[in-house]
Point group: C2
Chain length 347, copies 2
């Protein structure tokens, strides 16, 4: 592993993106999202995704210049992402939504034809730190099998919720799958067996072989209830975003297909409420204090916040090969410039 | 068990409510909600709650006449429930929200000082059958311990989501606790041990004694993720509804304290979308068809729908003692009329 300072990681990631044809402001957003995932100890949503993003730009299935086409119908924002970078399209929508919610109390965006949003908690933290609530949902390729089923029929369908407090925003960000496909890939790379109950193989049989699981399906979290929730998110996002559903969803894992999943974001602004924010901070402190040494209780975000503080000071650990790849991309060593020019002509 | 026809159950439940001073229109709503829970095989949210509702009316902590005070701030509906019946206050809010969302695309209500909403799926089904999406959240008294914790700090904090399809609405309605306190009471009444992992006793130790669990706390569903989700709902509802939080919440289980939990409902109206509704119906059929005899796959609501069809024809099974109590209440045998008159003077 390489231990790299936060500043160097930022300049390298942004350099790799700009060299691939991404405008600087868009590169900063996309880079920040990936690096915040590294800081939060969520490497599955971190820089390992950057080479694929750049491949997708080269292949013409990400247009790095657009921030999507937005149409308001009163408080409902309809967004055609036009194959833009996920965070660029979502951030532009959120900027308008935040203003709209300030006046109207609430705004919703339904987004189609947009690329991978990345770690949803990133958006939730930004909105909550403005004193607003965010509820964010997104779908993905079918990777999760129904409860008691044997075939992948649902996306990993995460939800993020951000709520202001008197201190740092409260943020929950979780997939409705038991584990991420990224974790299974990690086990496969390391040649380790996965725990029982995580996944089925291609034929629908339980497996502890990470390689077999990659071709199969992941369990929903929380049994029948987690399945029900993931299915509800799949159906809700499809209905509002007019996107593909189930096994028709592509473009969230591959490098060459336009991404046809959907995203839904809701921003709520109830006005200034400092006393309630204080009540919530006190409550979260009471939740933490309800544990003891033998039964420690943490609040979502506690460990990520600790990791972030440490990594900002001590640097970010990245696999040697990934770091080398990023440095080459930033230096132009991936020979991508010509490909990017070709892709740009297609938009 | 007594097997009673749907019609008789309705007239008896509505009779018990009107005799307790509930206006007929309100009695019909409250009765329908409880009876639909019986039809859906959710007895924990069914008629066993009716005697307590009537006790609460007698004790002056439910005002059966009000439908709450509603104040719109653009698309945000602030509701003071004024101790009304849960479904009466919520239904009045939803009627206004549904109209508002038709024009504006979305509406949100945050409700405080309202009594128990009952089965949230009831609301989701009604809104989804109008072609709109409902997301509903509510909190409760602290009954659930944090993941790895030992003390009840969270409500059972259910979520319901309703989405239109080309057929019957898709509805998910689930608590974020592993089981309901009602199920634990059922085991206690039957003198059966509860399964391991369901609950802790008063001192925070794992127990299979249902009686000990009643005084203790229930596990969150789905481990750390279910805990995170339940906590997010607790914090979100508190922030928006300005209600009590955690161990300060009262009035959802007792008969004599004003209920201070909160409810949040969001109605989304994206306009007519018959093609997407058809896509969702086809997808849900594909999910069902992905199972086989050895691994059957159902969609949330399938079994409840089957139970409903059967019970409408064959009748509803109720415990003898409960049915006897309801008949007495409908006939005025509970001697409640004088108490109700006294309670009415207090409002």
């Amino acid at each position: 592993m390489a231990l790299i300072s936060y500043e160097t990681v930022c300049s390298t990631a942004i350099g790799a993106l700009t060299r691939a044809g991404v405008p600087l402001a868009h590169a900063r957003l996309q880079g920040d999202l990936l690096i915040e995932a590294e800081l939060a100890d969520r490497p599955s949503h971190g820089l390992l995704r950057l080479p694929r993003i750049i491949e997708r730009i080269e292949n013409g299935v990400i247009n790095p210049e657009t921030d999507g086409a937005r149409t308001w119908r009163r408080s409902f924002l309809d967004v055609d992402g036009r194959m833009g970078l996920g965070p660029v399209v979502a951030d532009s929508a959120l900027a308008e939504m935040s203003e709209h919610a300030r006046v109207n109390g609430i705004a919703i965006a339904a987004i189609r034809n947009n690329n991978h949003l990345g770690m949803l908690g990133w958006y939730a933290r930004r909105i909550a730190s403005r004193g607003q609530v965010l509820i964010a949902l997104t779908t993905s390729e079918a990777l999760v099998h129904p409860w008691s089923g044997r075939t992948a029929m649902l996306g990993t369908n995460p939800i993020a919720i951000g709520v202001p407090t008197a201190g740092a925003p409260f943020v929950v960000d979780m997939a409705t799958s038991l584990v991420s496909m990224g974790q299974i890939h990690d086990y496969a790379i390391q040649g380790r067996p996965i725990p029982e109950g995580w996944a089925l193989d291609e034929r629908g049989n339980p497996t502890t072989d990470a390689g077999a699981a990659k071709a199969g399906s992941i369990a929903p979290f929380g049994g029948a209830k987690g399945y029900a929730l993931g299915l509800a998110f799949e159906v809700l996002v499809t209905f509002l975003a007019d996107c593909a559903v189930g096994r028709d969803v592509v473009g969230t894992l591959d490098s060459d297909q336009p991404c046809n999943k959907g995203d839904v974001m809701i921003v709520v602004d109830p006005g200034e409420r400092p006393q309630i924010a204080r009540r919530i901070t006190d409550y979260l402190d009471a939740v933490r204090a309800s544990g003891d040494a033998a039964h420690p209780v943490s609040v979502p975000g506690d460990r990520a916040g600790e990791a972030r503080r440490q990594r900002l000071v001590e640097g970010i650990e990245l696999p040697d090969r990934l770091w080398q790849q990023l440095e080459e991309m930033a230096a132009g060593g991936n020979n991508g410039t010509e490909k990017v020019r070709k892709a740009a002509r297609r938009h």
